[in-house]
């Protein structure tokens, strides 16, 4: 969570709110913030830290591990209509890549605004595709790997 907190401004600029969620109580979140997170990131975690006691929310989203009694690392990007546009689920030992989250937000926001699909590895300013009959079989002429 500290890594997300450290780059929270990048998400703020994109008008994205973050909600973090574990089975710990809100009281434990307070302790974690005061005793550790605030020492890792200036000001600590700036977004709401949710108490998913019993894993009810995790169960709804399919990320609650009953055997371990915890939520695994699930990340869900939800658009302004409340629709899930992206999700990623990792087992606990591997942390997430924040840069990829930002890239996905930028790409989904671009698609929402323009309707243009974004090719693999797309970054803002890079080429998009204009789907239509003329593009069938011609992607190779219009887009190269690395574009």
């Amino acid at each position: 969570m500290a890594s997300v907190a450290a780059r929270y401004d990048d998400l703020k600029k994109l008008d994205v709110e973050v909600l973090s969620c574990s089975v710990d109580s809100h009281f434990t979140h307070k302790m974690w913030q005061e005793h550790e997170l605030s020492k890792m990131v200036e000001g600590g975690v700036p977004f709401p830290m949710l108490a998913d006691t019993g894993g009810k929310i995790g169960t709804l989203y399919g990320v609650y591990d009953e055997a371990g009694g915890v939520n695994v690392r699930g990340r869900f990007l939800i658009d302004p209509d409340g629709v899930i546009q992206a999700m990623e689920v990792l087992t606990p030992p591997v942390g997430r890549n924040f840069a990829e989250l930002v890239r996905q937000v930028q790409a989904f926001q671009h698609v929402r605004k323009t309707g243009e699909p974004t090719p693999a590895g797309w970054q803002p300013g890079k080429k998009t595709l204009k789907p239509g009959p003329d593009l069938v079989g011609k992607v190779w002429e219009n887009w190269k790997i690395g574009d």
Binding site: L19, C21, S22
Partner: protein, 47 residues
């Protein structure tokens, strides 16, 4: 998985710690906003 991309995100409500205080947070409070929900195993773990 009980959820799917392209489908509505299930609403939920939870107690939360935020800005030094406690409050209730509902996903539907964030309607018309982009939201990232990040699940993780637990506070005070290492990754």
């Amino acid at each position: 998985m009980s959820v799917m991309v392209g489908q509505k995100a299930p609403d939920f409500e939870a107690n939360a710690f935020h800005n030094g205080g406690f409050k209730k947070v509902k996903l539907s409070d964030y309607k018309d906003r982009w939201v990232v929900v990040c699940f993780y195993p637990g506070d005070f773990t290492f990754v």
